[in-house]
Chain length 297, copies 2
Amino acid sequence: MTDSGTDLARLSLNTATTKRWTLAEAVDGTVRAGLGAIGLWRDRVAEAGLAEAAARVADAGLRVSSLCRGGFLTAADDAGARAALADNRSAVVEAATLGTSVLIMVVGGLPAASTPGGPALPDGDRNLVGARQRVADRIGELVPFALEHGVRLALEPLHPMFAADRAVVSTLKQALDLAAPHPAHAVGVVVDTYHVWWDPELEAQIARAGAQGRLASYQVCDWILPLAADPLLSRGYMGDGYVDFASIGRWVTAAGYTGDIEVEIFNQEVWNTPGDEVLAIITDRYVRHVLPSLTPR
Amino acid sequence: MTDSGTDLARLSLNTATTKRWTLAEAVDGTVRAGLGAIGLWRDRVAEAGLAEAAARVADAGLRVSSLCRGGFLTAADDAGARAALADNRSAVVEAATLGTSVLIMVVGGLPAASTPGGPALPDGDRNLVGARQRVADRIGELVPFALEHGVRLALEPLHPMFAADRAVVSTLKQALDLAAPHPAHAVGVVVDTYHVWWDPELEAQIARAGAQGRLASYQVCDWILPLAADPLLSRGYMGDGYVDFASIGRWVTAAGYTGDIEVEIFNQEVWNTPGDEVLAIITDRYVRHVLPSLTPR
């Protein structure tokens, strides 16, 4: 546990955490800090150019732990649905090109609220059951394409406070139910501590994900209070809030997860901090709060 | 549906909605608006005096749909636990005196965060599983006392965004699991649309509550965006947000619920509005968005 090269081998920087860095800066910073992997957002990849991004990460010797993100599949109209499916196929191709099999899927909110942070529309479609069915249908449409490209759709349940405007998939159980009709290597699930730490069924559903071989990604950050004015930016460094990383890490390990651990923190204060400082804090918190529970016993 | 006396017979004003009104003002306003019931908060009752409050509500011919609230049972220390149990016994006596069998229970958050809105304490107790077990144990301790007084402990799942600082009971399923060891007339559950509207298991769990005779209270208000700076105050009038009242009302009705429908809105703008105006809006929204689905078919 004192060999930092070993300690940080599974740690991954999600590029949203160091929002001001270009992809090149994030790759260099991740290598400097001794991490083994990087999680990429599509906007940073697009800025760098897909081929250039893929080459740069590969040359740096980093794994790509995930590509963020596909999804937003809840449109109620045909044109919206077609556009979403086309965008998701592009994301699948990008993931394959970048050498990752994990495409994180944020499935989208109610159609009336699908512009994240947009205002409530009194005449909007409030049919949550219907929106969830459309997600199921469209995942099914994407599966053959994802399989052809060796990419797994990793369904991410988001905290229920985002159910209206960002993701109608709110629990790990629900994500696993959506995944169930498809092969495990085609559809997996994401455990992001910020979104699922509160769930009374978390231990059981992580075990279920493990038993089915569907645990595709483990993302960590903390739940801090008070919530930020924009709750999306309310994530904190591990150890600053209420998440029980020891228990969740033990459950994830018991479920057989041996993949990367991505740190994804949306937080204005973190974004205002120089990237190397952020990485120093992250590695310290990871070693203290996350890593101990990841060692199989 | 055009007889307003019939229309509003099951509608109840929760006094937290008209926060600036004294208990006497709330009772008079509720009568003026033609509602059949009122839901009381303990602070308003204490201000008026328990006996005076009971007499005033009874003289006005209103039912007391609930007393808010008992709970906050998660203290990790003996002194804190004893104080919480004593306070809950007082609440049981108050409910019985006021003539309501429904004592709403907000069970409390993690001990480190149990001062609502308080800051995150890095050294706080993050053991959510343990906190939930303490709730189960202390409900068990309160049941005999509640039964003696003819009062039902109505467990309210709160939205998961309050899991750290207010309620470690986050879903209706979890509330029903906590209630299961006890007689249905001793421990029931609350469905508050603001807290549970997002739950993929809501229909099934409302049906389960109905089958067990545990559906003790139905509270309505809307989920609006963006969230208020204090998310506790982010509730909106029915129809202003994303809650599917038609579906949830149908499920509650199918579960056999025939009790009062309480409107509980914490919202600074609503609190700044004169109480009679608030009641006019509430009755209009109730008749349009809530009542149609409450008619058994």
